[in-house]
């Protein structure tokens, strides 16, 4: 029982603080083993049985606990050593074999000996020069004893690198904004002690684009002496392009507001599924005030199907849970959640004593309430429908969240800007503009608000104003690739080709892994007759994004102009393969084939 449930972590080099490999190891800690199994602190596993059937359950049964109790009461006897089963053989190093790519923290972080838990993010570039399909990952903490849990997100904005550079030492403590970082499409990357890495089906990989940084968020526990940590993430690629993409649904609240002393604060949320899905994974999240968590589905015929229950949430052991047999939920099913919170002194883990008002936020002294579901729709049409439908719900939730945040922090210019951005995404430019202006009233040179005002001005048909805003953004943030790109497009549209060319080149220099930047530069170069240079840019765009239909079409146009008709035809066909409704490519292909036939 100890080998099966404990020894995986309680052995040298792993996260358990002491080994449990021999009779004597266990005998010496017999009472401790009894106490922590009885209280179910060990092995760490939060979901209640009977509410979802999960893989990798780390839970000892009631009979096993009773057996331990009896053994301890009997003086922890050894029995016949000859009956001892052989020690399990553990794979050394990477459990899934040598990864295709290992990403490592560039330098070790020094964790102080004492004080409170440390939450820190590390920005780590992912060196891939072409898109990769990730089938699995394995996190090696490097110093397993200090990592309580780790979560990894992706960043294409460069903001995490910037924050990492701004703060002294490796990593940074400030929180990222949710529009800066994202989970890989339809997946999560996380680690808790004892979690076994798995390869997902190879048709369900996620795409990793060049120019993406990994943001490693770690919760670390000081051990009493200074510690060093340098973690690695191994990635396993597959050549297969994914044919199934899961979708992440979120239920919860972004308007949490808990009065000091409140012992039983409740959040609830629900969503009606517009398509049939299978639920692959569930991932609950709250901070230190979270107590009981429930997730369930009400099927169209009215039956209630439990998806998860956690009776005593423990932030320190947060994890995702994968269903052994994914529940199938038909269209029209209502998925629901309910979490409770305790913001009184009765909650020993309350970060504030005496308690204070606690509102929504990513910091651990703030609160969150999310229940994420990784679901698999039937096909890409259903995926798109779900994405649109859920996107509306999620945007409303985010808008409500930022509005609440701005009531509490009216001077937070980043939040004004983020709220404006959400209205912009909802195509409500009229509502968006005042938020950008308010952000600028608080922080006049804030480049991101200038950039967003540029985007808003363009959508209102005010090109001159847009150009002015992009230029202002670039004065304060000279490497801001999106501002260069949009400014170049606006300048090109009004015929200022040299200035457009300059800014497209700047956009490429600032974000050299952005396929669109290369594509745009190619278009301007081609318009000036520099066909070789244009083709080079389109080819680079396609190296970064092989499925970029417009770049195939543009490259084909350029090749055609160079007289390379066969190659041009190949790229038109590729563009149409990716995007069958691409009318320009179809017309161009017909022209090229006619020209090919008339060739001598």
């Amino acid at each position: 029982m100890i080998y099966r449930n404990c020894a995986g972590c309680h052995r040298p080099g792993e996260s358990g603080p002491f080994p449990l490999l021999t009779y004597d190891d266990v005998r010496r800690r017999a009472e401790l083993v009894q106490t922590v199994t009885q209280s179910r602190y060990m092995p760490p596993w939060l979901p209640e049985p009977g509410y979802g059937d999960f893989e990798g359950v780390r839970r000892v049964s009631g009979e096993e606990i009773a057996m331990i109790e009896e053994w301890v009461a009997g003086g922890a006897p050894e029995g016949d050593p000859a009956d001892l089963p052989p020690l399990p053989e553990w794979t050394q190093g990477w459990q899934l074999g040598e990864p295709d790519l290992v990403i490592r923290m560039p330098e070790p972080f020094e964790l102080p000996s004492g004080g409170e838990d440390v939450f820190r993010n590390f920005a780590i570039p992912i060196p891939v020069s072409e898109p990769k399909y990730v089938q699995g990952f394995e996190f090696r903490p490097g110093n397993a004893k200090i990592v309580h849990h780790a979560r990894m997100l992706l960043d294409r904005s460069g903001r995490s690198r910037q924050r990492d550079a701004e703060e002294p030492g490796p990593g940074f403590a400030s929180s990222m904004f949710m529009d800066e970082i994202f989970d890989p499409s339809g997946h999560w990357i996380g680690w808790t002690p004892g979690k076994q890495p798995v390869l997902r089906p190879d048709d369900m990989a996620w795409e990793l684009s060049p120019g993406t940084d990994l943001v490693l968020e770690m919760h670390m526990l000081p051990t009493g002496k200074p510690e060093r940590i340098q973690s690695s993430l191994g990635l396993y690629f597959t050549a297969a392009k994914p044919s199934r993409t899961p979708f992440i649904l979120r239920l919860g609240s972004k308007t949490i507001d808990i009065a000091p002393g409140e012992e039983h604060y409740v959040i609830e949320d629900r969503y009606v599924l517009p398509v049939d899905v299978e639920v692959l994974n569930i991932y609950p999240h709250a901070h230190y005030l979270g107590q009981q968590m429930d997730g369930w589905a009400v099927l169209p015929d009215g039956t209630k199907h439990p998806l998860l229950r956690i009776e005593r949430w423990d932030f320190d052991w947060q994890d995702e849970y994968r269903y052994a047999k994914p529940p199938v939920l038909p269209r029209g099913t209502v998925i629901e959640m309910r979490f409770t919170y305790d913001n009184s002194t009765g909650n020993a883990e309350n970060p504030r004593n005496p308690p204070v008002r606690v509102t929504y936020g990513w910091k651990t002294a703030e609160e969150m309430g999310d229940l994420w579901f990784q679901v698999l729709p039937r096909d890409s049409n259903d995926w798109a429908l779900l994405s649109r439908d859920f996107g509306r719900k999620e945007r409303l939730a985010q808008i409500a969240g930022y509005e609440k945040q701005l009531e509490i922090h009216p001077e937070d210019y980043e939040k004004h800007n983020a709220l404006g951005n959400l209205y912009l995404e909802a195509n409500d430019t009229g509502k968006a503009v005042p938020f950008f202006r308010r952000a600028l009233a608080i922080k006049p040179n804030y480049p991101y608000a200038h950039y967003n005002l540029g985007v808003a001005s363009e959508s209102l048909g005010k090109a001159d104003e847009a150009i002015g805003h992009y230029r202002t953004a670039l004065r304060h943030l000279p490497d801001h690739a999106p501002s260069h790109n949009n400014l170049a497009i606006a300048l090109f549209a009004r015929g200022d080709v040299p200035a457009a060319m300059r800014h497209f080149k700047e956009a490429v220099a600032a974000d050299k892994n952005n396929p669109e930047a290369h594509n745009n530069l190619g278009i301007v170069l081609g318009s000036q007759g520099d066909l070789d240079a244009a083709a080079r840019e389109f080819r680079q765009a396609l190296r970064l994004a092989p499925e970029y239909a417009e770049a195939h079409n543009n490259l084909a146009n350029t090749l055609g102009a160079m007289g390379k008709l066969d190659e041009a035809i190949r790229h038109y066909k590729k563009a149409l393969e990716i995007s069958p409704d691409y009318a320009d490519a179809r017309r161009n292909l017909a022209l090229a084939e006619r020209a090919r036939q008339s060739e001598p």
Binding site: D24, E31, V36, G114, P222, T223, G224, A348, N353
Partner: protein, 205 residues
């Protein structure tokens, strides 16, 4: 008023003591001792016998029960060092006591080095001091007065509430308060609290 007349080897300090009047408490404790007074002999890391309670001339002696691989006691290392730095100047004498028989002198020396402990360390494989103080886990503290009276036994502070349940910061600094009282030489009753940590192995009770 300094307390006197209490035997140091009081086996059964009852938890009710601190709610009765001090004089009565002293009387009760004296009675409960029954006169037996086994010498408390521990081992230093070279295997020599040490009787720390006989040697004591400090106004306060603090014993911290420790273990080389208990994550709870290890995490208290900075706090234990802080208390020593603060109270050693006022005459308090600090010892680390390793009660788990399996922890060898070499492992303990390495532990002292790893955690930067500038402390005198003793082994208590026979659980002499464990039995006397009725300590049960690591980390746990015991404070004796210059008259060899047990003034406090229990947790260092209330940060560790249960296994896996840790306050971000302690709200009650029990050991520190006990030390302040003992060093002030004020009238007090012995205090006992429940410590949370790793059970001392091979307990004989």
């Amino acid at each position: 008023m300094p307390i006197s007349g209490l035997c140091k080897a009081c086996k059964e300090p009852t938890l009710a003591l601190h709610i009765v009047l001090p004089v009565l408490a002293i009387l009760l404790m004296s009675l409960s001792c029954g006169g037996s007074d086994p010498e408390v002999v521990l081992l230093d890391l070279d295997g020599r016998s040490v009787a720390p309670l006989e040697e004591m001339d400090a106004p306060a002696s603090v014993f911290i029960f420790s273990s080389v691989d208990c994550p709870v006691s290890n995490r208290y290392a900075p706090e234990v060092k802080r208390l020593k730095a603060e109270f050693a100047d006022q005459g308090a004498r600090f010892w680390l006591v390793y009660p788990n028989p399996a922890e060898t002198p070499d492992a303990i020396r390495q532990h002292l080095k790893d955690f930067g402990y500038d402390f005198d360390a003793l082994r208590d494989p026979e659980h002499r001091l464990v039995d006397l103080t009725r300590a049960s886990v690591t980390p746990e503290a015991a404070v004796f007065t210059s008259d060899n009276l047990l003034a406090y036994r229990g947790r260092i502070d209330d940060r560790q509430v249960d296994f896996g349940k840790v306050r971000p910061r302690p709200t009650k600094h029990d050991l520190e308060e006990a030390l302040q009282l003992v060093l002030a030489g004020e009238s007090f009753t012995p205090r006992f609290t429940t410590a949370v940590g790793c059970y001392i192995s091979d307990m004989k009770r």
